[in-house]
């Protein structure tokens, strides 16, 4: 790496050194005389200093020195004639920007400031300059100027510590500016432009923008002062390695043409940073149609030496880096990022430590593949295995700010869940009746709660960032806070006891009647989500657990407020002579827990193409349940007559089906009990499996989704 930094050191020197026409002299040496680190030639010294701190300062220096002398020698080999590469350059705008860098960017002066030594200990980050970089981060409608989470977000995404200072919001609060102390940090942040933060894209700019972004990728490529013969050799080499759009740059170190010209290819010891750029540039000029490049077996530790591949082959489709020494994600960053290799379809990183280590560490290649595909979003094939976007998920941190506004956990979301059609019918009827009365006549619900039922509610006033983003400033909760039984807030036993309502009278009078009036949106099936199933063994009778998520409107007040809610019920069959039964209710509420939230929308339970999920069913009139009737008697059109209401147990009076034995009859009843099938179907099922009871149970469970609705026992209550 420090070899390449040497190159940059050279460019720094060139910029400020007022390089004259004789470029061969100033390349590495002209500006380092004042450096305290003078070992191994100036350039090398600079290289040592700029090493990323992965080694100790001492070894840095030593290595830098050695590198410097090597660099000097080698560059000497490449220069010395009149053919300076800049003069052969094409006139791409980008390229010009790079080439003119020295003249334009006076501020980039990494090695020139007299006082530099005072701040550059061995651990100082590379190429630090006393010029701070000013970064501008803008987005729309996000009040980013005063967003305190931005720093940590950027730090995490940039992957290195950011020394953010002088942070200032713009007048409209849509832009924030801050200083970063060095080009490395500036680049890391600048590269993040386009990333989503709180649902909106960030536009990130920086002072010295072009330099920041191009410094790493094009380290002065065409500044290589090479001899005509060297360039010719490279041309010959490229021609010999090209065929039909495929540029084969495998194992360049062994290439006789390059060896003869003393060109040390990228990845080789003491290779110049410029060689890679020259190779790419020459190749792109000779064969603009190249779409596939192999750089296999070049001992590359980083993409930096060939980072210009992204510049010269922006439309590259396939790239092999097989059998190199790439170890860290960082080392690939030189060819990834916005506007780099955006068409890259296939990448091979087999036989690189970056892959092998990740697999060894994680026991699978999942996170490795996630990381790589995140870096190169256009990839379709990685390591000769297709990238299936649905399988490769990004790290969860990214998911949360991924494209979907409401990024999901990578688990399938299923819609309503009912364990059987019987439950579904029962629950839909219950909810429809319940909420109908809850909205219109809560007093009537007194009969619906058991005499020992419990009710409590919690106002969850948390506002998510997305909600805030969408303009939510927080509803008024004054009608809720007094009774909200959030145990983390309500610590006193008295209050806790007061806020749980026990028994139907207390629940209605002190509980639900004191809550604001509501209008539940149950007609739109997409806005309601229900999980419900029957369970035995809780109370003497079976129960149904219900968890319903939805929304309601508070019609009171100057303007209606929509709130989201979660409500879990436990309901049980209404005892024969209970108030509920007398009112015609088939079930009675044992427990009712209510959560009220800021409006959340229904997206959370949109089924993700899950064919097994029950279809959402509206609970209002569309479900065929009378809605207008506020009287309990209206809730059960077509329900089984009261005399038929029975528990979960199969009817002991069931007449054995003709032609089966008493034992088979008992078996069918047991199957009924265990599966919920009705008697005729239980018999049919057992007959189909030759009266093997276990097989019968298995069959029902396996085919549950396909069993027709009329095969199930009638609703149980």
């Amino acid at each position: 790496m420090q070899r390449d930094r040497n190159g940059r050191g050279g460019s720094g020197g060139r910029q400020s050194g007022g390089v004259t026409g004789n470029e061969t002299e100033g390349l590495f040496t002209s500006n380092f005389s004042g450096q305290s680190n003078s070992g191994g030639g100036g350039g090398g010294g600079g290289g040592g200093r700029v090493h990323r701190g992965a080694s100790t300062g001492r070894s840095d220096r030593r290595r830098g020195g050695a590198g410097g002398s090597g660099g000097g020698r080698r560059v000497g080999g490449l220069r010395g004639t009149s053919a300076n590469l800049p003069h052969t350059r094409t006139t791409g705008g980008d390229l010009d920007g790079d080439l003119d860098m020295g003249e334009k960017k006076k501020s980039f002066n990494p090695y020139q400031r007299p006082g530099r030594s005072t701040r550059s200990g061995p651990t100082t980050q590379s190429i630090s300059t006393d010029d701070d970089f000013i970064i501008f981060v803008s987005t729309t409608g996000n009040n980013i100027g005063t967003d305190s989470g931005l720093d940590s977000f950027l730090t995490r995404k940039a992957g290195l510590k950011l020394d953010i200072t002088n942070k200032k919001p713009s007048a409209d609060n849509n832009t924030v500016s801050f200083k970063l102390p060095n080009v490395e940090q500036a680049r890391a942040v600048r590269k993040l432009t386009g990333i989503k933060y709180r649902g909106a894209k960030l536009i990130i700019k920086s002072t010295g923008d072009q330099r920041i972004m191009e410094d790493s990728s094009r380290s002065a490529a065409p500044r290589l002062s090479s001899s005509a013969s060297t360039i010719d050799s490279i041309r010959t080499f490229i021609r010999s390695r090209h065929q039909n759009g495929f540029l084969d740059l495998e194992n360049m170190a062994a290439d006789p043409t390059l060896r003869a010209a003393s060109v040390i290819p990228p990845g080789g010891k003491s290779s110049s940073s410029q060689v890679g750029a020259v190779l790419m540039k020459v190749a792109s000029e000779l064969f603009p149609d190249i779409n596939t490049i192999s750089l296999a077996s070049n001992k590359l530790r980083s993409m930096q030496p060939i980072s210009s591949i992204a510049q010269f082959f922006p439309k590259l489709l396939n790239l092999s880096l097989k059998d190199n020494n790439i170890t860290y994600m960082k080392d690939l960053e030189y060819i990834s990022g916005p506007k780099k290799l955006t068409n890259l379809r296939e990448l091979i990183l087999l036989d690189n430590p970056i892959r092998d280590r990740a697999i060894e560490k994680n026991k699978d290649d999942f996170s490795y593949r996630s990381d790589i595909t995140k870096m190169f979003p256009s990839l379709q094939v990685l390591d000769q295995t297709p990238v299936t976007s649905s399988k490769i998920s990004f790290g969860l941190g990214d998911l949360v700010v991924a494209d979907k506004d409401t990024a999901a956990l990578p688990v399938p979301i299923k819609g309503n869940f009912y364990d059987s059609p019987g439950t579904q019918a029962m629950v839909e009827e219950f909810l429809s009746s319940f909420f109908n009365l809850y909205d219109t006549n809560r007093s009537a619900l007194e009969a619906m709660y058991d005499s020992s039922a419990t009710f409590s509610y919690v106002a969850d006033m948390t506002i998510s960032n997305l909600q805030r983003l969408k303009g939510l400033r927080g509803d008024r909760w004054e009608n809720y806070v007094d009774g909200s039984r959030s145990l983390s807030r309500v610590k006193e036993l008295d209050e806790r006891t007061k806020r749980i309502h026990v028994g139907n009278t207390d629940i209605v009078k002190e509980g639900i009647l004191k809550l604001p009036k509501t209008k539940h949106q149950l007609n739109d099936a997409s806005k309601v989500c229900v999980d419900a199933w029957q369970t035995g063994g809780l109370l003497p009778a079976i129960c149904i657990y219900i968890m319903v998520h939805g929304e309601y409107e508070e019609p009171n007040g100057s303007r209606p407020v929509v709130k989201s809610f979660d409500r879990s019920f436990i309901i049980a069959p209404a005892p024969p002579n209970s108030q509920a039964s007398l009112h015609g209710w088939k079930c009675i509420i044992i427990s009712d827990q209510l959560i009220i939230r800021h409006y959340n929308g229904p997206k959370a339970w949109e089924p993700e193409a899950d064919l097994n999920a029950s279809k959402p069913v509206a609970l209002g009139p569309q479900a065929g349940v009378a809605q207008g009737g506020a009287t309990p008697g209206a809730i059960a059109p077509g329900a089984a007559p009261a005399s038929a209401v029975q528990g979960v147990q199969p009817d002991p009076q069931q007449t054995p089906m003709a032609g089966i034995t008493a034992e088979q009859h008992a078996m069918a009843q047991e199957l009924q009990r265990q599966t919920g099938l009705n008697y005729p179907y239980a018999v049919q099922c057992l007959a189909a499996v030759a009266w093997d009871f276990a097989a019968g149970v298995a069959l029902v469970n396996q085919e549950r989704a396909n069993i027709p609705a009329d095969a199930w026992q009638a609703p149980r209550f």
Binding site: G149, L396, T406, L466, S486
Partner: protein
Amino acid sequence: MADINTIGAQFTEFYYKTFDAGRNQLGALYRPTSMLSFEGAQTLGDAAIVEKLTGLPLDGLVHKISTQDVQPLDGGLLITVTGQLLAGGETNAQFFTQTFHLKPDGGSYYVQNDIFRLVYGL
């Protein structure tokens, strides 16, 4: 009997701490009759539930509890928790609601039912 609110709070704290630290340790809380409904997908039995929970791609996530409420139910407890799922350092959390039905078993409790839904934050 100890105050159910205390038991509920202890349970909640233990559950989420264990969940975030190592979900495979949660098996002790369930029984063969326990049921989990996670985002509408149902799982029966402690072994299957642990398998389901450990298979969820939730590594590195942390539960942050916003509210909890406890009701007595048939000698046991009914706990409803709301909170946020946070990725490390992330600020855009996802809201969730989770209800537990705890049943007494000897001197301790186990989870008879566990119902989880994400409700997002819009």
